[in-house]
């Protein structure tokens, strides 16, 4: 894709810039859609209707909200640290947007085909952590600071089970490149890693229960990494107002909101790429059977988006179903249950792979 843009514009730098802006065109409408979806899902789960007035079933509601946020006065509290207060939302958004560089949208488009792929995605979430801490400190508000501290402690703790589960998939796949991991799980859904991976045999069936366990651990810890319920203690409204973005308003608040929904999609895309075949269709491609080769990447893009949206929907579903954990319960879940289980899971999967 990068070569194509370089040829089209005749300039390597311009090609790079266009190549790196493509996910933005995808993320912003998607985040707007997610905000609308969250309202509708929460409303229907509570036997309400949610936004109904702006557009049919309120689909224009988030556009109206964005217009409102754009017009709002940019308020910086008098005692806040002006420089860091302004940089923080940009840093948080940059961190969550940087993750899109290594995620394959279809076999035709991936921002950068680096071999560090999934390790890179884990690494750039560090920028988000630093940005959250910056926002919490510079607001000069005790709720913001406490929210940021909780959020950072939570994200750092839950990175360990996430990385251990991803490592067990890397053991099976033999690569960190998300494009290659997705390519492996081609053809039919029983080739997905959740069903033991593409290689047939007895080991494949032995792997299935450990794969499901791994998927559950990864999904739970990814919920904690994006501060979603039941792990939303950094933003617990009854205790901390709104956590680290309490003092933010207008466009700066919108950037936090945007990056939160972008992050939700990133973790869902990672879950679907490592366990559910990424952009691969569960059953063949229409383009292949009709002999239209350009249709295949479009279908793949459809499946990628559909899987991502499905896992985001499950996150919303859980949010409006489960109560919030206490801080000690949060740490107990991570250190006493998820980390030992994911270690055992990793060792078993590594042994099975060794005796394949």
């Amino acid at each position: 894709m990068l070569e194509l843009f370089t040829e089209l514009t005749g300039n390597a730098l311009l090609g790079m810039i266009i190549n790196s802006l493509i996910p933005l065109v995808f993320v912003i409408p998607l985040a707007l859609f997610f905000v609308w979806l969250e309202r509708k899902v929460s409303a229907h789960m509570q036997d309400r209707l949610g936004p109904m007035i702006t557009g049919s079933h309120g689909w224009l509601q988030t556009f109206a909200d964005v217009l409102k946020l754009l017009q709002k006065e940019d308020i910086i509290p008098a005692d806040a640290d002006r420089k860091l207060f302004t940089i923080a939302p940009i840093l948080v958004f940059a961190g969550s947007y940087a993750a899109f560089a290594a995620i394959p949208f279809s076999s035709a488009y991936i921002g950068s085909e680096i071999d560090m792929g999934i390790f890179y995605v884990v690494a750039v979430s560090g920028l988000v952590v630093a940005g959250i801490l910056m926002a919490g400190w510079s607001s000069n508000n005790k709720y913001s600071l406490l929210g940021a501290m909780r959020s950072v402690a939570q994200i750092i703790s839950y990175e360990i089970p996430t990385v251990l589960v991803i490592l067990s998939i890397v053991v099976l796949a033999g690569t960190l490149n998300l494009l290659k991991i997705s390519e492996m799980q081609t053809a039919y859904f029983w080739n997905w890693f959740i069903f033991g991976g593409p290689e047939p045999g007895l080991i494949k069936f032995l792997l299935i229960p450990f794969m499901f366990a791994g998927f559950l651990i990864l999904y739970i810890s990814s919920l904690a990494e994006v501060n979603r319920t039941p792990f939303d203690i950094p933003e617990a409204e009854s205790e901390l107002v709104a956590g680290y973005h309490t003092e933010y308003s207008g466009m700066k608040f919108a950037m936090f909101f945007l990056s939160e929904y972008a992050n939700m999609f990133v973790v869902s895309a990672i879950v679907s790429a490592v366990f559910f075949g990424g952009y691969q269709s569960p059953f063949g491609y229409l383009g292949n059977s009709l002999g239209i080769s350009w249709l295949v990447p479009i279908e793949q893009f459809f499946w990628f988006t559909a899987k991502g949206i499905f896992f985001v929907f499950v996150q919303m579903w859980l949010r409006w179903t489960l109560p919030r954990l206490r801080v000690d319960q949060l740490m107990a879940v991570c250190w006493k249950y998820l980390i030992p289980y994911s270690f055992v899971n990793l060792i078993i999967i590594a042994f099975l792979e060794l005796y394949r």
Binding site: I114, Y120, A123, L133, W137, I156
Partner: protein
Amino acid sequence: MSTYDLIFYLFAAITLLSGFVVVTSKNIIYSAFSLLFTFFGVTGIYALLGADFIAVVQLVVYVGGILILLIFGVMLTNKVTNVDLKTGGVNVLPAAIGTGLFAGALTAIMSKNYWRAGNITYEETTIYTLGSKLLLEYSLIFELLAILLLVALVGAAVIARRGRES
């Protein structure tokens, strides 16, 4: 100027400017946060040199780990943030001699050394060779390092617990 050069100068500028802020800023929080950009710039330079694994590890260990720990430390020791840090000059003459000698040595190495500039074929990725080297050739050192880290971890836990009981 090629694109590669442009990106290199961008990262070099980020590293140098933020490093300058780290040293000269009177606010310790500003120093800590601009260290973030220094680490980020170094990551970019590693990536440009073809050391992809080191680049990502730099991001994980320094930005995701050490820097966060540092900022936590700075924030929790609240009194430090109100103290005026010394950024003025003391012992100017010895420092000037020291840095002058060091700069002279560096420029001498840079100008006198014979740098082999040729068409080196970069490996596509370094992880495969790195992994087999670490686990086959240098496995003893690798395991010893792991034990050292474990000992440090246990020691830290023991020290923290003793403080609570007394």
